[in-house]
Every structure is written in C-alpha cells, then in structure tokens.
C-alpha cells in the first residue's frame, strides 16, 4: 500500500500538469509589493516579495508558474509555484496592468496603461514582438476563444479595441460605456462582457458580429446607480453564471448568464475589485481594494462566508487547484 502510494505520488510529481493543484490562494498586494499565499485553510503560508505594484496574475496552463504584472517596475515577475520564489522577470512597457497568454502560451498580451499600447511579448525570448496603439489607459485584455482576436479596453476612450492577432492591428473600435475596465468571454465563445466602471453598466458584445447586443445595469438595494462601479468579472465553466464585483457598492452580483437576470447580491468588502472561482466552483474569492481584505463566497448558497485581512490594497486573486 505504501509502495502504491509512493508510486502514485511519484507520478503526480512527474506530471504536474495533471496533478491536482496545491490549493494555495495567491493575492497580489498593489501597495504591499508582495504576493501573499494562503493555505486552503486560509492561514498565511508565505509572503513573496515581488517587483513594485503587483497587479494582474495568471498561471501557465500547467500551473507550474504564476506570472505577476508589476506596474511600477515595468516587469512581469515569474513565481515558481513549487518553491514560492520569484525566479524570473519579463520586461514590459511602462506600467503593465492586465495581461493574458496567447492560447498556445508562447506570447503574453499586456496592456501598458502609461503609454497607451498593448504589447505582444514572446515568452521564451522575453522580447517585444509587436506593439499596438490603443486609446489612453488601456486595461482589460482577453482572447477570443478561437484565438483570432485580442480585445483591449481603453478607460479614457470609452471603447473596446478589437485587435486581429494575425494582422497585429486594431480592426474595429466598439464604443461602450464610461471607463470600461475588464472582460469575460463566455465559454461558448459567443459573448464578450465588458464592465463599465463609471456608467455603472455591463455591455454584452456579440463576438460573431462585433456589435453590442445588450447593456445591463445593476443596483443593489439601498444603493444608487452611481455607487455601482463594476470592475472584475468571472464566469462559470458551464457558462451559466457570471460574477461581477460592483466596486463602491460593496457587493458581488451573481447573474444568470443566459437570461441576464440577477440571481443575488453578496455583501463583500469596500470597493470590491477582482473575483476568481475555485476550479470546483464551490467557492468564489473577491479582493476588496479599500478595506485591504478578501471575501470568500459560498457558491451553493451564494452568500459570503468570511472576510480576511491580507495586506495593503489587494488587486488580484488566483487559486491553484
């Protein structure tokens, strides 16, 4: 039995891509210049010092590395998930904020908010392959499911740039609400959801036609429309629910992705910012930028279970599971 266990363990170590993740929760602290790592029981496992102003984070597909965009040092730091050390840094343009990998993981697409570009960086050689000019303060970046397009928001130009990857060029600008921030793409690849922070809206874009098909607004009870400043979003794997942080309205909205009806508002901390789902989708995690904490939401009951202080200005949260 013991032998069998160690063989299994050996197999797991040999193929980390197929292993169940560590269950660790990573939170980037924009002002703390560190990524705090929580155990599944929410105790602090480690605090990893990063370059300055760590913001968006992404795992590679195998979850062996966590990449962290560090806005004040113009790099994407690479954290080894096994050793919890920064092992590499990829230089970017000024003030990287949000990024994604290309579907084949060979490139990083990153918005550089201070020089109004989206950069395409080759991961292996750490060199810039191309730059695409965007409106001022580009933020959200996401791929279409087929990898044909990269979408980028410009917070100042109030638009979504549609970038054709093959051409490295903007092929369409879609004007949305005021101060568009982040995206989700529905798993069927049909819809692009955009959060408009200052007009308190969500725009739903049909990816096939690249046109707006709906605009939604949400007002939790006791709030006014102008209190609602949506930013982060997450979608369940079956595409049935979309989670949206409502910023200053201090709630997470959980939406039926098909009917666009609101399912519930879950109370979270001050200026709810980013949201991520555990892979079993039983739990959602929200970062609260103004109360320096995270809120854990039980997805079955869609209610908050606990809020936990993590450090200065939590920006993004990712779960390795």
């Amino acid at each position: 039995m013991r032998l069998l266990l160690s063989v299994l363990l050996g197999l797991c170590l040999a193929w980390p891509a197929f292993a169940k993740g560590t269950g660790l929760i990573f939170v980037s602290l924009e002002r703390g210049n560190e990524v705090v790592v929580l155990n599944p029981d929410l105790s602090v496992k480690a605090r990893i010092e990063t370059s300055r102003r760590p913001r968006d984070m992404r795992f590679n597909e195998a979850h062996t590395f966590l990449y962290v965009a560090c806005g004040d040092d113009d790099v994407i730091d690479v954290i080894d998930v096994a050793t919890l050390q920064v092992v590499d840094s990829i230089p970017t343009g000024p003030s990287p904020e949000i990024f994604v990998f290309s579907p084949d993981e060979t490139q990083i697409f990153v918005s550089n908010e201070e020089d109004s570009t989206m950069e395409m960086i080759d991961v292996a050689s750490k060199t810039v392959i191309d730059r695409v000019a965007t409106g001022a303060e580009p933020e959200g970046v996401i791929n279409s499911v087929d990898g044909k397009y990269v979408f980028v928001t410009s917070e100042v130009a109030d638009m979504v740039h549609v970038i054709d990857r093959a051409k490295s060029a903007v092929v369409k600008n879609i004007i949305v609400g005021t101060r568009p921030r982040r995206f989700v793409v529905t798993p069927d690849g049909a819809e692009l959801w955009v959060s408009d922070e200052l007009s308190s809206e969500i725009h739903v874009i049909d990816i096939a036609t690249l046109t707006i098909k709906d605009a939604l607004s949400f007002v939790p009870p006791g709030f006014r429309a102008e209190d609602v400043t949506p930013v982060g979003m997450a979608v369940t794997k079956d595409g049935s629910k979309i989670l949206i942080t409502l910023g200053r309205a201090n709630h997470l909205a959980i939406i039926d992705a098909k009917t666009h009806e609101i399912l519930t508002y879950a109370l979270v901390g001050s200026r709810a910012w980013d949201v991520d789902l555990a892979s079993d989708e039983k739990t959602a995690y929200v970062t609260n930028g103004l109360s320096d904490d995270i809120t854990i939401i039980d997805m079955d009951s869609m209610t908050p279970i606990q809020s936990l202080s993590v450090g200065r200005t939590p920006h993004s949260i990712r779960v390795d599971d």
Binding site: E113, E114, V156, A157, G177, L198, I212
Partner: protein, 384 residues
C-alpha cells in the same frame, strides 16, 4: 433585486457626420495674476508657470481615438491676451467658428466675456473662476467646470464637522477676493453649525502702530479656537501662519490644508495616470487649473459626440442632464447641475504633498446625489 435592461446604447447614439470639425477655443490671460511664479494656484511654489492650454491639448489627445472612430476632427484654438483685450478676442474667436470657448480667466474677465456673448449660440465653459457670483448670474450659455468657492468651502466644513473641530478663527487679507473667500467659508460654516469665533484682518507690514494686524502671535491670541481658516487669495501672508500661531492649531484655507479639484499626489481612481500623462507631456506637475481645463475640454468633446446635432445649446442641455457620464478620474461619474451649470465633483483636501480626505466626506448624505452636498443646492439656489 432589480435588473434593468437598457436599450442597446449604440442605436441611440447619433454621431456627428463623418468629416465634421469640432472647433474649441481656449482663452487665457497673459500674466494671469493668479498663477504668479512664486505662488502657484495649488499653494505650492511652482517654478514653471501654469499654462492651461497644455491641459486642453492633453484632453484632445486623450480622446483622439474616440473622435477618430466617429469621424470628428477636433481643432483647438488657443489664445492668450491681456485683460483689456479679452472681450475682443472672444468675439473674434466666435466669429472664426469656435462654437465652444473654454475660459481660463479671473472672474471679472469671465463676466465681461459672458456679458458680451450672452445672446450667441455658443457654449462658454468657465474653467477656473470659482466665484459664486458667476453661478448666480445664470448665463444661459455657460457652464462651470472648476469648482465653485462654495463647493470647496463645503468640503472644508464637512471635514471640520467630521473631525469635530467646530470653533474657527478666520484670518483674512486686504484683497476684496479675500473677504469673498472668508464670506463663502462663513456661509458654509453656518450651514453645518460651526462657530466662527472671530474674523481678523491681517496686514503685511511691520508698522509697530498696527501690531495687532501684523504680528501673528497677537493676531491669533486672546481667544480659543480649534482651527485657523486663512483667506489669502493672493498669497501674501498665508504661508507665514502655520507653526506661528499663539495656540498650536491646524491651519486650513489658502495654506495648510487646501481644497482643490485636483492634486498631483492623488493616487486613487486612475488619477495617477492623468497626472503622469500630464507630467510627460509638459514636464511639470499638474495643477488644479489644469484639471479644470482638461475636464472642460473633455466634457465638450464627450457631449458633442452624444447629441443628435452638435449645436451648443443642445450640448449644454445634454451636459446638464443625468445622461452625461463624465470620467474625471475621481472615482465617480460627473455631470453638470441643471440649476447653476456647475460640474458636480468630489473635492480633494490636501497638503503640499498628500491628499488627506476626499469630500463628500463619508457620512454626509443627500436625497438625490451625494455630490450635491457640496455647493449651492437646488433648493437654496436663486439667480440674481
């Protein structure tokens, strides 16, 4: 638990036709006394002079992606003239086709231009004259992008109330604007039931026969108070008050804790990006009047793109409705008040290098829009 479906916004937006030119004028004063070299408007010693035309250019460039997308080209016409020439210059700009004029002028010059152009179908944006008298003048073709004095004073009094610093000593200079500032503070203080323990005039001279007017220890003695409000719009004496009062008390107003629409050190809500873009473009730190002009130009361009016809009176109507959702990088959506054409906006209370609090201060509420706790509210507003 209500979800509102909005109509697809795209269908509602009627953009100006392709190839349209939007002409915006920017009129400022040569050697504006408010921007004297040794006394920056933000109460900082700012060696490079404030030239707000740079902020106007930044707004045009910020929105160029959007204007290009809808086929509008923005032409900015910047003029700096002497006080005697402002009216003629404004008339000339309008005659040359500037339908929108951003005025970076002191109150007297704003009034002169507004009186001369009040029957014209143009839109005037008073960017930097805080005087409430320009609001109550109710010019039909004017809006105000920079804060009114009353907005700034209400920010102070909300903060004092929240700190429970209720007794205020006012020190005021000899310039008529100083009395105006002190009056505005007193009006605001009265609304929040703060006590003005005394108003004392200050003179900048060493005449031994007027020691009570020029000696700071005498000027601040013989009475108790929680805080000193300094009304010194020309920067004559204010900077000598902190750390020099008889009682150890904080100083606010024209020095110390200052109310302003913007602060280069404001770090939230994407403010840093605006400040650092400005820094890169001009090589100097952004000052409050730069923000006033930037947001003025931004409001014009944003609104022109959202009205069916780019006709200034229509644009003004749109600006003063809740349909305008303007992003001033201050965390909330901004638009102009219907009753006085004043931009609703948060006010920052800051020192020389930090923002201490953003008003509306937490806890102050309003029946329709919290931003209306700052400035003259609809119920109390009357045109002259």
């Amino acid at each position: 638990m209500r979800l509102r479906h909005l109509l697809p916004v795209f269908a509602l937006l009627a953009f100006p036709a392709l190839g349209d030119v939007l002409k915006i004028g920017h009129l400022s004063l040569l050697k504006d006394p408010r921007y004297g070299q040794d006394w920056g408007y933000a109460r900082l010693i700012t060696p490079p002079p404030v030239i707000t035309a740079e902020a106007a250019r930044m707004a045009v460039s910020d929105l160029q992606f959007t204007t290009d997308a809808v086929g509008v080209s923005v032409k900015l016409d910047t003029q700096a003239v002497t006080s005697a020439d402002v009216v003629a210059a404004a008339q000339k700009m309008v005659a040359a086709g500037d339908d929108y004029l951003v005025l970076d002028l002191p109150a007297d010059e704003v009034k002169a231009v507004a009186d001369a152009l009040k029957d014209q179908p143009v839109l005037l944006v008073n960017a930097t004259a805080p005087n409430d008298s320009l609001r109550t003048a109710c010019y039909p073709n004017m809006v105000h992008s920079g804060p009114s004095r009353r907005q700034e004073m209400d920010a102070f009094t909300q903060y004092l109330r929240s700190m429970n610093w209720t007794d205020v000593l006012i020190l005021e200079g000899e310039h008529p604007d100083d009395a105006g500032l002190a009056d505005a503070f007193a009006t605001s203080a009265e609304r929040l039931r703060l006590a003005i323990v005394d108003r004392r005039p200050f003179t900048l001279a060493n005449d031994p026969q007027n020691r009570e007017g020029n000696n700071i220890r005498l000027l601040t003695g013989d009475i108790d108070y929680d805080v000193i409000f300094v009304a010194d719009t020309r920067g004559e004496f204010g900077r000598f008050i902190p750390y020099a009062s008889l009682l150890p008390r904080p100083v606010i107003g024209s020095i110390g804790l200052v109310a302003a629409p913007w602060h280069w050190a404001y770090e939230r809500d994407g403010a840093t990006q605006v400040s650092s873009r400005f820094d890169k473009l001009t090589g100097r730190k952004i000052q409050p009047p730069d923000w006033d002009v930037w947001i003025a130009v931004k409001s014009i361009i944003t609104s022109v793109m959202k009205v069916p016809q780019p006709y200034p009176p229509l644009v003004r109507g749109f600006m003063t409705s809740n349909k305008l959702k303007l992003d001033g990088s201050k965390g909330v959506t901004l638009n102009y008040r219907a009753w006085d054409g004043q931009l609703r906006q948060p006010i920052l209370l800051g020192t020389s290098d930090a923002v201490i609090v953003v008003a509306p201060v937490q806890g102050f509420s309003h029946q329709t829009n919290t931003l209306d706790t700052l400035g003259t509210d609809e119920a109390e507003f009357v045109c002259d």
